[in-house]
């Protein structure tokens, strides 16, 4: 890709993500926040992680596969069930990665 196109696309992408990452923290950090806002901030982690998981599970592949290959569409869902169990038992990110990728690999290989 030409450096001009790269500069435009990546430069503006960097500017937008930097604004999203830095501005709220810098603006809010030395302020006493209203209760209602603090309450809302406390709900960010469960809402965000659930949204990220749903975003991965309801992928474009999932909707395509629903029509063509019904088993393949649900393999990540089966692996998700395994990871949920491991997460609740071990509470370990590493074990979740290992069993998640491992179980999905096995499912993709055998089914």
């Amino acid at each position: 890709m030409s450096w001009l196109d790269f500069g435009i696309i990546v430069g503006l992408s960097i500017a937008s993500i930097l604004a999203c990452r830095v501005l709220p923290a810098m603006l809010l950090k030395s302020r006493e926040l209203p209760d209602r806002l603090q309450e809302a901030l406390g709900f960010i982690p469960p809402a965000a992680f659930a949204a990220l998981v749903a975003n991965d599970l309801f992928s474009a592949n999932f909707f395509d596969a629903l029509y063509t290959d019904s088993i393949g569409a649900f393999l990540p869902w089966l692996a998700t069930a395994v990871v949920v169990a491991v997460a609740l038992i071990t509470r370990s990110l590493i074990w979740c990665i290992v069993t998640g990728v491992g179980s999905l690999a096995l499912l993709m290989f055998f089914l």
């Binding site: 696309i9 830095v22 992680f49 998981v53 975003n55 990871v83 990728v101």
Partner: protein, 307 residues
């Protein structure tokens, strides 16, 4: 917090803790970064462009989207808008982490905030909150016997997760991501790892972070509504802002549920909660850390006090 960190605690030990905390991210980013570098080369990016993008842009979702959209000849304008929309969820992380930066200087705050990702947000938030809960537990335990002494909170503070450590986690993750991308870009097709598997490493991290939350009714509502919101966005074709819209819907639903249940009087919870609030105030005075991790019960209690 950072002042104490530089003082009398073993810095090496703290850095080791940060490395241990970063390990799952390092594993995940290695697995995800190599195919990302390969994809960049396939889309016509150079190795140095991939390196610059990994270091300064540092967004897994964005760095998968840009090459994919370049290869499908998407107009530059819609690439930029799509990428910007996907990354708007960073606003939520930044706002959520701001409360830990109260006593941190601007340069470190900037460096920390600029290097937050989905995964490092989860890991650091877990450590910040774990530290706080420990402080709280210890204080609750000693509440009746404790005469005001400065030693205990001081000790708790030293054990706490610092912004410096959190930034170390971020930088280790950033370094891994950049190296993995460059490795993929250079070594290219030597590694062929199915992309579905690579991306499921990240999904596994998110699942684990989700189920490490302490679920009470409003928290569960936040998660369920967020997931349904994302699904609906995807069905409607709004995949760019799906995560942000879903998460905000979840947060609003939880707030509504919270204000509905707040009016239910419950004497036992009230007395318990008040006790906790006193302890929290005490800790807050020492720590100057207005962490509202247990926001559900906290706000509930405040509402009940008004009754």
């Amino acid at each position: 917090m950072t002042i104490l960190n530089s003082k009398n605690y073993n810095a090496q030990h703290k850095l080791k803790d940060a490395f241990v905390a970063a390990l799952p991210i390092i594993a995940g980013y290695t697995v995800l970064g190599i195919p990302c570098g390969i994809l960049g080369i396939q889309a016509g990016l150079t190795v140095s462009q991939i390196a610059i993008m990994s270091l300064l842009f540092y967004s897994g979702a964005g760095q998968y989207m840009i090459p994919n959209m370049l290869m499908t000849a998407t107009p530059i304008g819609s690439i930029i808008v799509s990428v910007a929309l996907v990354n708007t969820r960073q606003i939520l992380y930044s706002a959520s982490l701001s409360r830990f930066l109260k006593n941190t200087g601007k340069p470190l705050s900037f460096l920390f905030a600029a290097t937050v990702t989905d995964e490092s947000f989860g890991v650091n938030l877990g450590r910040f909150s774990y530290n706080k809960n420990n402080v709280e537990k210890r204080h609750t335990h000693q509440n009746h016997t404790r005469v005001k002494s400065d030693k205990t909170p001081q000790a708790d503070l030293i054990e706490g997760w610092t912004v410096t450590q959190a930034t170390a986690v971020n930088l280790l993750s950033l370094g891994t991501w950049t190296l993995a991308n460059i490795t993929g870009a250079i070594a290219g097709t030597l590694f062929t790892f199915p992309s579905a598997l690579a991306s499921f490493a990240m999904t596994s991290i998110f699942i684990c972070l989700l189920f490490m939350q302490r679920f009470k009714t409003p928290t569960a509502i936040a998660a369920i509504v967020a997931a349904i919101g994302v699904m609906l966005c995807k069905i409607l074709g709004l995949s760019g802002p799906a995560i942000l819209i879903g998460a905000i819907a979840g947060i609003i639903a939880a707030l509504l549920v919270n204000s509905a249940t707040r009016t239910t009087p419950n004497a036992i919870v009230r007395s318990k909660g008040n006790d906790k609030n006193n302890v929290k105030d005490d800790v807050n005075n020492k720590v100057n850390d207005n962490d509202k991790d247990e926001v559900n019960c906290n706000v509930n209690d405040k509402g009940k006090e008004k009754l």
